[in-house]
């Protein structure tokens, strides 16, 4: 079989070494709060100039894949997402760790990441050209509705108080409007500070909103160590595999979501994992308690975000359009190495695509042992380290991360201001996660809305632009279901209770 040849080419000692180094570097950078996957790839790019093209791609791909998993380590153990892709992982990962199942959560994240990684690579090899065309049917109106669908998650992120959750979400959308608007060139909310013309930088803002409050809390509470009991020691790999098998529908659905969101330009792993988490939550069985340490929450988030690694490369390879932010770095690497892009890549340089895919398959599989080992090692280290050491270390890593991405002090200030604000309003009951959601999805919704409006006005069919297209209708249906379903469930449960109630008498 031809694939075996490519697999053998990828299995050379040289490639195995490159993959291993890529995974270790990727996990380490991804686990540091503040260092994103895009940053990890960009920092490693100059190292690839001397490598043969396919080796360079395999190396960058491994770094990307591993950093996406690496982000889950700090998400689970510290409640601070290491990369934006693992925002949704914190929601159930940290509660699991607090309940004594940190090692299980890590193994679960690793297994889900490996499955997602493999599904993404499979999508890349098997159905890249048709998939890329499908991504193109997403126009401005569909991006608008997709962002609105993502925003419905605010309702579930703020169970305690919906109004406060919505206000947080609005604050996020408001923050996303700072800077020069793409569609109008208006300069908004910059208060004449040149540093703000580019808008609120997303990665430092996300770190600030989600990580800084955690560090402050760590200092503000008395306990000497992170209070994480350990229910059972070991990797608990068998348990993780069993949970994944039980959640196979969720795993499949989340990977599919990862494929679709990954191939959309302007989305990426962070949005894929949030959408997958929302979908999992919407189809939850009554015994699943999302947000309180539900294993399926980790499965959804981590499989979806790692699937985007492969699927994001579909439009990158076929259309020359990066599917996710780190793919832009990979695109740059391809151009510098003189590779063809487009269907020609698959036809004329198919060996490169398939050797790369084989290399990424190996990287996904190697991530299991390496990821598990590093995960448990870090876990042990975090539990043993007193908070007086841990808190400054995390604070330092957060500060360095915020600074390193763009060598910008402004980013650090943004991070600290938003972080402290998030901690203060968090004490008043305003959750921080919806702010991040608004910040991520606000620009997509705004651009999609304005562009669809402009096209609709030019062609004289605004209503048809927003409501007349089949894909839009499908997403609108999902939004309606997402908003109505919880009430239907509540009503059904209430009816059930009522019908059983007379039995008590």
């Amino acid at each position: 079989m031809a694939f075996m040849e490519y697999a053998l080419a990828a299995l050379s000692l040289h490639h195995l070494l490159v993959v291993t180094v890529g995974i270790v570097v990727g996990i380490a950078l991804g686990a540091m709060p503040g260092l994103s996957s895009t940053f990890a790839c960009a920092v490693m790019l100059p190292l690839t100039f001397t490598m043969p093209p396919v080796t360079a791609l395999i190396f960058l791909g491994s770094v990307y894949m591993a950093s996406t998993y690496g982000g889950s380590l700090s998400a689970i153990l510290l409640n601070t997402p290491g990369t934006p892709q693992s925002i949704a992982t914190t929601l159930d990962g940290f509660p699991m760790a607090k309940a004594g199942d940190g090692n299980l959560a890590l193994s679960l994240a690793c297994v889900a990441s490996v499955v997602g990684g493999l599904v993404g690579v499979l999508a890349l090899v098997a159905i890249a050209p048709p998939l890329a065309r499908m991504a193109l049917s997403f126009g401005p109106a569909e991006f608008f509705w997709l962002a609105i669908f993502g925003l419905t998650m605010i309702a579930s992120l703020s169970e305690a108080n919906l109004i406060k959750g919505l206000l947080s979400g609005l604050l996020g959308v408001l923050l996303s409007m700072v800077g020069i608007a793409v569609v109008s060139a208006d300069t908004r909310f910059t208060f004449d500070l040149p540093a703000l013309v580019g808008g609120v930088p997303i990665v430092p803002a996300t770190i600030g909103l989600l990580c800084v409050p955690v560090v402050i809390d760590m200092v503000a509470t008395k306990a000497q160590h992170m209070s994480m009991p350990l229910a059972r020691s070991g990797f608990r790999l068998r348990e993780a595999l069993a949970l994944c098998w039980r959640g196979r529908v969720n795993l499949g659905r989340s990977s599919l979501i990862g494929i679709f969101v990954g191939i959309l330009p302007a989305a990426g792993g962070a949005i894929a994992s949030l959408v997958a988490y929302t979908a999992a939550l919407r189809s939850a069985r009554p015994n699943e308690r999302y947000g309180e340490g539900e294993p399926n929450g980790i499965i959804a988030s981590e499989s979806a975000n790692n699937t985007t690694v492969g699927s994001g490369l579909v439009p990158t390879f076929v259309l020359g359009i990066p599917g996710t932010p780190p793919d832009a770095v990979i695109l740059a690497a391809m151009l510098i190495h003189g590779l063809q892009i487009g269907p020609a890549l698959f036809v004329q340089q198919g060996d490169i695509v398939f050797t790369f895919a084989a290399g990424m398959t190996i990287a996904s599989l190697l991530m299991l042992p390496i990821g598990l080992a590093i995960g448990q090692y870090i876990y042990a280290a975090i539990i043993r380290t007193p908070k007086t050491v841990l808190a400054p270390l995390i604070a330092l890593s957060t500060l360095l991360g915020g600074f390193a991405i763009q060598n910008s002090y402004v980013d650090v200030v943004v991070m600290l201001v938003l972080g402290i604000t998030a901690w203060i309003i968090g004490r008043l009951g305003f959750p921080a996660a919806p702010i991040v959601l608004g910040l991520l999805l606000g620009p997509i919704a705004e651009r999609g809305y304005s562009q669809a409006m402009m096209i609709g006005q030019a062609t004289g069919n605004v209503t048809g632009m927003f409501f007349g297209r089949p894909l839009s209708q499908l997403i609108i249906a999902c939004i309606v279901v997402a908003l109505v379903l919880p009430y239907v469930f509540k009503w059904l449960v209430a009816k059930e209770v009522r019908s059983h109630a007379p039995a008590k008498h």
Binding site: P46, G139, V182, S184, A185, A266
Partner: protein, 325 residues
């Protein structure tokens, strides 16, 4: 007059490149003292776009020429404004440089308010490449030629949608100049970056788009078709692609990229930096690599930069004012 000016500059540059092959002596004397450590080049756009990739070619050859690293620092935001509003705060020692896009820095401060810099704040020491803009349609569009595009726009004034990157950028300017020259009215739809602009075109969500020749190099451009290039002459890379001008519409619109330095940098340092990057651009291989990637390497040396920049300003200032209205 405007048209002839960059043409002369190009001849100067071409002669310079030829001369360089024979007598390289005018640069190395200074280059031996600079750089002694890594140099940072801030790029005001994200990785993977035409600006970033042009800088990555410099990065590769800079190392070969100087033995030092050229570190690319992406600082995207505000369509480049974030990097240009901060570039004068850089250390004037030659180790903190900024990529400058022309005519972007002419258009933006006029088209958008409060961007934090003016055209006069921007100092460049060497223009190193240009990229022509192309008008493209989806591959399955019924429009086959530029004449048909103009006819479609005349048949339904304001109803033909044309995409581009941002408001007050180069694509927007090409849209304006072409509409003026052809006497048509179309609807401009701004996108966040080149990638999303092209995706909307390939998906047929817009009828046409102004984009860059780089998007069609290296086998790219699947699902879209170029109608004409807004360059002054045909490109070697696409010999069959007509220019807008040869089809009887009097306009061309390219973007140029330059090495920008902070205002406080003394002239001798500026000359040294310029000389080193000139040497990088004269390295065998870089021009061919960039041509194959869709660029048109176009070097304007230190003493000519101010004049060429002045000509670019004179051409684009009225365009910027028209875009505001």
């Amino acid at each position: 007059m405007i048209r002839s000016a960059p043409a002369t500059a190009r001849i100067v540059a071409f002669a310079g490149a030829l001369a360089a092959a024979t007598f390289m002596s005018h640069a190395p004397a200074l280059a031996s003292e600079y750089p002694t450590r890594a140099v940072t080049l801030t790029v005001g756009f994200g990785p993977g776009g035409p600006s970033d990739i042009s800088a990555r070619f410099l990065q590769r050859y800079f190392k070969e020429v100087t033995g030092q690293d050229l570190i690319i620092q992406n600082l995207p935001g505000g369509g480049g404004a974030r990097s240009w509003s901060q570039m004068n705060q850089a250390a004037p020692d030659g180790y903190e440089l900024t990529l400058v896009s022309l005519p972007h820095v002419v258009l933006q401060p006029v088209a958008a308010s409060g961007v934090g810099y003016t055209f006069e704040d921007i100092n460049s020491v060497l223009i190193y490449t240009s990229v022509p803009q192309v008008l493209a349609v989806p591959a399955n569009s019924p429009i086959q030629t530029l004449e048909e595009f103009v006819a479609a726009a005349q048949a339904a004034p304001g109803a033909v949608t044309v995409g581009g990157t941002g408001v007050g950028g180069s694509n927007h300017s090409a849209w304006h100049l072409f509409n003026e020259a052809a006497g048509i009215n179309t609807a401009y739809i701004p996108f966040a970056d080149t990638a999303t602009n092209n995706a909307a075109l390939q998906g047929g969500h817009i009828a046409a788009a102004w984009t860059w020749t780089t998007q069609f190099a290296k086998g790219g451009g699947d699902g879209m078709r170029m109608l004409a290039v807004a360059a002054q002459e045909r490109l070697d890379l696409f010999p069959d692609l007509p220019t807008v001008m040869e089809l009887g519409i009097d306009m061309y619109d390219e973007a140029w990229w330059a090495i920008g330095v902070p205002e406080a940098m003394p002239e001798d340092v500026r000359r040294t930096v310029s000389a080193v990057f000139l040497e990088v651009m004269q390295e065998p291989g870089i021009a061919q690599d960039m041509i194959e990637a869709g660029y048109v390497p176009f070097v304007v040396e230190f003493d000519e930069v101010a004049r060429v920049k002045g000509e670019i300003r004179d051409k684009y200032l009225p365009v910027a004012q028209a875009l505001v209205e």
